[in-house]
């Protein structure tokens, strides 16, 4: 195989790579989508909310419109520095370095867990969902925004090779396996690509409720 052929392949690959990155680019996650996702929750003033993978703090900003008690966790100092510029490093929003799959919080200490634009980078999304479920109090809710799976088979295969994409059926499966109930989804996006993101809200079973065991 010649060098040119390799380069041609590389260009082709890059062309699709850029396309995928455009699809998950944070700029397509806009204020309207954020407001729609927030409307799927019922956050009350005083609720303690965790933003997993808060990054630059775009969602954090929306959460603050509902409650003052917002906690942001991320693994990247580069991303968090943007958030610190917005909210202050030692202000009302509390920041932590941490891992979504191994959360550094005690059981049931949050009313709600939110995560947008982060699940696609989690090596083990079900482990992270189980952790989100653990730190939310019984009966509380978890909301996850991720990239909806592209329909085209070729594009879908390329997308799968890059990072996690999922559709409603796959989200149902992941959330059920992590032990959630009342799982609902909404696809959203800007007008030119209205189903680019999938937002899932699910409930942590209330205390005393028997969790449904999935057949292995």
């Amino acid at each position: 195989m010649g060098v040119l052929e390799n380069k041609a392949r590389a260009r082709l690959f890059y062309k699709y790579l850029s396309k995928v990155y455009d699809q998950v680019n944070p700029f397509i996650w806009n204020e309207e989508m954020r407001a729609e996702a927030l409307s799927m929750l019922d956050i009350q003033e005083g609720d303690r909310v965790l933003d997993v993978g808060c990054g630059t703090g775009f969602a954090t900003e929306g959460l603050l419109e509902h409650t003052a008690d917002v906690h942001g966790l991320d693994q990247s100092p580069h991303q968090l520095e943007h958030a610190w510029r917005k909210f202050g490093k030692h202000g009302d929003v509390r920041f932590y370095f941490g891992d979504a799959e191994r959360l550094p919080f005690a059981d049931g200490v949050f009313d709600t867990v939110w995560s947008s634009g982060s699940i696609e980078y989690w090596p083990n999304p079900i482990a992270a969902l189980r952790e989100a479920k653990r730190v939310v109090k019984p009966g509380g809710r978890v909301l996850i925004v991720g990239p909806n799976h592209p329909d085209s088979t070729l594009f879908g295969t390329l997308a799968d090779a890059m990072m996690l994409f999922y559709d409603e059926a796959e989200a149902d499966r992941m959330f059920a396996e992590a032990g959630f109930e009342e799982i609902t989804h909404r696809t959203m996006g800007p007008s030119y690509s209205p189903e680019i993101a999938i937002t899932t809200v699910a409930r942590v079973p209330a205390e005393g409720e028997v969790e449904t065991e999935l057949a292995a």
Binding site: Q75, H90, R94, Y96, F97, R102, P104, A106, D107
Partner: protein, 61 residues
């Protein structure tokens, strides 16, 4: 990190409580210090007020 947050944080590895060792503080805000797991002894630094609760294998990544 506000001292009151000790009630909600835990060791990311074994989920046990953390002990606070203060190096520098202003009232209830801990600027520099360490959080030490009461079970496994793993230490998590607090630097410029931010607790680094990444598991050890992810630090400085």
């Amino acid at each position: 990190m506000n001292e009151s947050l000790l009630e909600i944080v835990c060791c990311p590895l074994d989920k046990h409580d953390l002990d606070l060792e203060v190096i520098q503080r202003t009232d209830e805000e801990i600027a520099e210090g360490r959080l030490v797991c009461t079970e496994c002894g793993e230490e998590y630094p607090i630097e410029d007020g931010i607790p680094n609760l990444l598991p050890p294998d992810m630090r400085d990544g």
